[in-house]
Structures are given as C-alpha cells and as structure tokens.
Assembly symmetry: C2
Homo-oligomer: 239 residues x 2
C-alpha cells in the first residue's frame, strides 16, 4: 500500500480556473484526505467521508495510464489537488513519471506539511487559510516551507470572504514579500445549482475584493482573481 496514492478523481483536460497559472490547460488528479476542516471547503468530499467509497488506491503508473486514457496527447500539464496532497509521502513517483514525459506538474496545498518532493513541483500554490475557514495557520511550518521552496516556481494564494480575511491576507503578503501573491474571491454557496444567481453573486464579490485591494497601499504587488471554472460551470464537479 505504501506505493499507492488515494485518488478521488482524475479528470480533464480542462482549464485551471484559479491562481498562478489561471487558464492553463491541465489534467486534474484529486487525492483524498485533508488535515484541515475549512468551514467553506469546496472539496469536503475529499475528507468528510461522503465519498469514501470512491477512493481508489492507485500506483503512479496507473494514474499516468488513466491520465493518458482520458487526455490522450492533448495535454502537457497536470495539477495535483486535494484535500491536501502534501499529506502523502509518495507523490514523488508520480511527479517523476510525469516529468519524464515532459509534463509539467502543478500542486496546491495549504502549507501545513512539508514534503521534499514539493521542490520538484513546477507551479506550486500555497494557500494558507484565512479566519473565515475556522482554521489556524501554523506560521512556523509555513515559514519553513517558504524558506525552502524556489520562489520563481511558487505562489501564495489567500481566499477572501470578508474584511477579516483581507487583513489576514495582508499579513501573509507582508510576511513573505518575495513570493507572488494572489487573493481570490471566496464562493459562499458551494451547493446551489442556480448558476445565473451564482455568477452574479461571485462577480459582485469579485468587484468588492478588487475595490478593497485597489485602494490599499499595502497590497500593491497583488493579483486579484475569481475562480473561472465556477463562473463557467457553477458548482459542478469534474470539469
């Protein structure tokens, strides 16, 4: 079992809807398990037990085969997402296989746990969670992570739901000025199927977030982004 990875979803090609390579054509591998319990988690099925029967223990080779089956030759970028994939020791096998095929590898983690293979990731998004999540950031662990990684291949991203979150985002940006910084609109309703209403709400929250950042001289070298996949597909999974 130690050479397998708990996988919940493999899908694509689709766009990366957020963060440092927003818009990038990519395939997704979603791993199971998270050490956090964010109040607004949009991937709660990775840890709340509701999808536990869908978890498949896969070798890196089997994951690669499935990616090729789905994406054929129409991709050269794979995003590993969770949950928190940094809980898993043996992602390095998968990274090596992908790199050997000239495929770039992106990964998102909240920054709560170090793995040496994080150094191999081409587009690393570290997304510490703001107060509205109900979680507490361990800044010692995060400091250590930020110190070790190659800054040009990484970015920080904070999801913002309210003013308190924005204050937190600012603290993070100030603490790590040398790394690209993104703020992202939070999605308050991860279950609605009324896409038109959702788009309207998300765009108005996005406008609010832009306004906040634009007038703040402690938030200059910042990129403010929505989640594109939510604008296009709403709360649908697997797109």
């Amino acid at each position: 079992m130690s050479h397998t990875i708990p996988v919940l979803e493999i899908f694509g090609p689709t766009i990366q809807g957020e963060g440092m390579v927003i818009g990038q054509k990519t395939m997704f591998v979603r791993t199971a398990g998270c050490d956090y319990r964010c109040s607004w988690c949009d991937s709660a099925f990775t840890w709340d037990g509701t999808a536990k029967d869908d978890i498949v223990m896969m070798t890196a080779d089997a994951i690669y085969d499935r990616l090729r089956e789905l994406g054929r030759n129409a991709f050269n970028h794979v995003t590993i997402s969770g949950g928190n994939p940094a809980l898993l020791k043996n992602i390095d096998n998968l990274i090596n296989i992908l790199h050997s095929q000239d495929i770039k590898v992106a990964l998102e983690t909240q920054g709560s746990k170090w793995q040496d293979w994080l150094l191999e990731i081409d587009d690393l998004t570290i997304s510490p969670k703001p107060p509205s999540s109900g979680m507490n950031t361990n800044f010692e662990v995060l400091d250590d992570m930020i110190n070790r990684i190659e800054k040009s291949k990484a970015s920080l991203k904070v999801v913002v739901f309210n003013k308190e979150d924005l204050t937190y985002a600012k603290q993070v940006h100030k603490r790590y000025p040398g790394i690209s910084f993104y703020v992202q609109v939070g999605n308050e309703d991860t279950v609605t199927e009324n896409d038109e209403k959702l788009v309207k709400k998300l765009l108005s929250q996005y406008e609010w977030l832009i306004d906040q950042v634009m007038n703040d001289d402690e938030m200059n070298n910042v990129r403010v982004l929505p989640q594109l996949h939510t604008l296009v597909w709403g709360n649908k999974r697997g797109v």
Copy 2:
C-alpha cells in the same frame, strides 16, 4: 513636441483584466493612434477620430505626476496600452521614470512595429490579430520582434472569435513555441449596456473556446482566458 506622448486616458488603480498578468493591480496609460483598423476594436476611439479632442500631449514627467495623483502610493505596476503604443519612439522616457520608482511596466502591442524600448518592458504582450479583425499579420516583422525580445518577460495573445481565428492562433503558437501563449475570448458587442446579457454571452463563448482548445493536441501549452474587466464592468471605459 518630440518629447511628448499623445495620451487619451490615464486611470487606475484597477486590475489588468487579461493576458499574462491577469488580475494584477495596475494603472493604465492609454496612448492615441493605431496602424491597424480591427473590425471589432474595443478601443476604436484611440484612432477613429471620435476622441481626438481628448488627446493630451504629455511629457513622461507629467504622465508620472498624473499617475501619482490618481494612484498615490497604492500601485507599483503600470500598463501602457493603446491603440498601438509601439508607434511612439519616445516611450522610453516614461519607462525609465517608472523603473526609477520601482514600478514595473507592462505594454500591449499587436507586433507590427519594433522599438528598442520594447526590450525594457517587464510584461510584454504581443497580440497579433486573427482573420476576423480584417487585418493581415506581417510575419517578417513579427519574427524579428519575437527573435529580439526576452522570452521570459513576454507572451503572445490571440483573441479568438471563431474557428478560423483558432486556426490562426494555432499557427502563431506553432511558429513561436518558445513563448507563453494565451488565447482570449473575443467580445462581439462592445457597445451594449445590458451587462447581464453580455456576461452570459461572454461566458458561453469562453466555454466554447475552452472546449475547442481542450480537445486539440496542437494546443497543449496554452492558457485560455476571458476579459475579467468586461465580466465585472461590461463595456464601461476607464475602469
């Protein structure tokens, strides 16, 4: 007069709504004049005479002063846009002043004209125009530009309205594989004030463009993006 720049708009801080630094907090300086006449130009007022009384001849110092007046200390990024700012020989003064203040400079041009100061731009977007524009690309001039620029500071962006445009985008991507490549949804209605209808239309065109690119194995290392400012503010100018 040779040390002044014809300016149509200075505004911000706002987000860069498109391309390689999408979401970035920036100020905009829009210069007057274009050597193209794209059928769907969303800045036609820069060249069609309708705003000719608004053109102000400004020195680089005066532009900098105006930027500070508007943005105070709440920016460290300026985007020079047009029209085609590469028609102007003396943008280098402005770039130097901005750099001396630790401000990064982005610029967008269709790639029809070389200027040595293009080498000084931090985020250079070259956006050759597809068939639907009614314009023809001079690939000799474009080859020369792509050869000279520093690839890590530049990107190519093609706006796509239809399948023919997509074929053109693919040609451009294949011709210059070493440079980051973006395709962007075209806005077919640059005058409507019905924002809700516009957003719906733009998101469905964006979904179409994503579908096209996702299934095409000649378009792998590609980023597919909408215009965020149009989603948020519709066709409003100066935001």
